[in-house]
């Protein structure tokens, strides 16, 4: 089964890298949307459904925390799993993002295997 993915990151080269790593990991992506911040992501989600959102935290206009808050307040969007992909691997930050509704957290640097495993866990229903 192929999935529709939204990557939210203010860096075009990082979005490109994540797309490539998903491909290398064997993750089947049917359609990959990109947004440069949370506000742009919410705009895209008004017209397009995705199976999962990968988001950075530190972004202009609307950061990852604010994006999670907005998603959780939206009856239509709150069921989309969100995977945070961030350079911040501190336990405080991870717990904060999980409490805001993130379903997973991948700290940079990461390998294709790590990202692929987390995507499979979130979309395959395996909570292990």
């Amino acid at each position: 089964m192929a999935y529709r993915v939204l990557i939210v990151d203010d860096s075009p080269v990082m979005r490109s890298f994540i797309r490539r790593v998903m491909d290398v990991s064997g993750f089947e992506c049917d359609r990959c949307l990109e947004a440069g911040d949370g506000e742009e992501a919410l705009g895209l989600l008004r017209g397009e459904w995705v199976d999962i959102i990968l988001t950075d935290i530190n972004m202009p206009r609307m950061n990852g925390e604010q994006l999670l808050e907005n998603l959780s307040e939206d009856d239509c969007l709150r069921s989309i799993p969100v995977l945070v992909v961030s350079t911040d691997a501190t336990e405080t930050r991870i717990q904060s993002m999980i409490s805001l509704g993130a379903k997973g957290y991948v700290a940079k640097p990461f390998t294709p295997e790590t990202l692929g495993r987390e995507l499979t866990r979130l979309l395959g229903g395996n909570d292990a």
Partner: protein
């Protein structure tokens, strides 16, 4: 306030973070560590990335343009150096500094949170290293690269 590790520990944590990032996400081959800044009179890319935490400070990443271009080719999965333009090279340099800084601070300030500013990427000729709280110099297969952390006084 959490204790910041001493300078030897910070050196080691910066080195392990930078090595992890270079090898895992930027597909660089590290040939060894160096003790002196080698690229005399070469045009270098310098990325300065201020951060705010406990303590605050800045990370500085420096490497010859050719080294950063080679890293950008690997990071972007490009066919060759001609297919990566200068703006992409600078963007990859900024991302490299961003990920090295985040990985290092996650190890050094693991009990707190931190915030990173946008990276400032410049080009210049550097003939000597500046003072830093911690510094690591790697010899990659494509040339040298330096990462430095400077903490603000409390």
């Amino acid at each position: 306030m959490p204790d910041i590790p001493d300078s030897a520990q910070v050196d080691a944590l910066l080195a392990s973070a930078a090595q992890d990032v270079l090898e895992t996400m930027f597909f660089a081959t590290i040939c060894g560590r160096s003790s002196e800044w080698a690229p005399q009179d070469q045009v270098c890319v310098t990325v300065k990335l201020p951060f705010h935490g406990t303590p605050s400070g800045a990370l500085q990443l420096t490497a010859p343009m050719a080294v950063i271009r080679s890293i950008a080719v690997a990071f972007l999965g490009a066919e060759d150096e001609d297919s990566v333009d200068d703006s992409q090279v600078r963007a990859v340099a900024g991302e490299l500094a961003n990920v090295v800084c985040g990985a290092a601070l996650s190890r050094i300030e693991s009990a707190t949170t931190f915030a990173l500013d946008a990276p400032e990427v410049t080009e210049s000729t550097l003939n000597e290293a500046r003072p830093a709280s911690a510094r690591v110099l790697f010899d990659l297969d494509c040339g040298p690269i330096a990462a430095e952390l400077e903490f603000e006084e409390a």
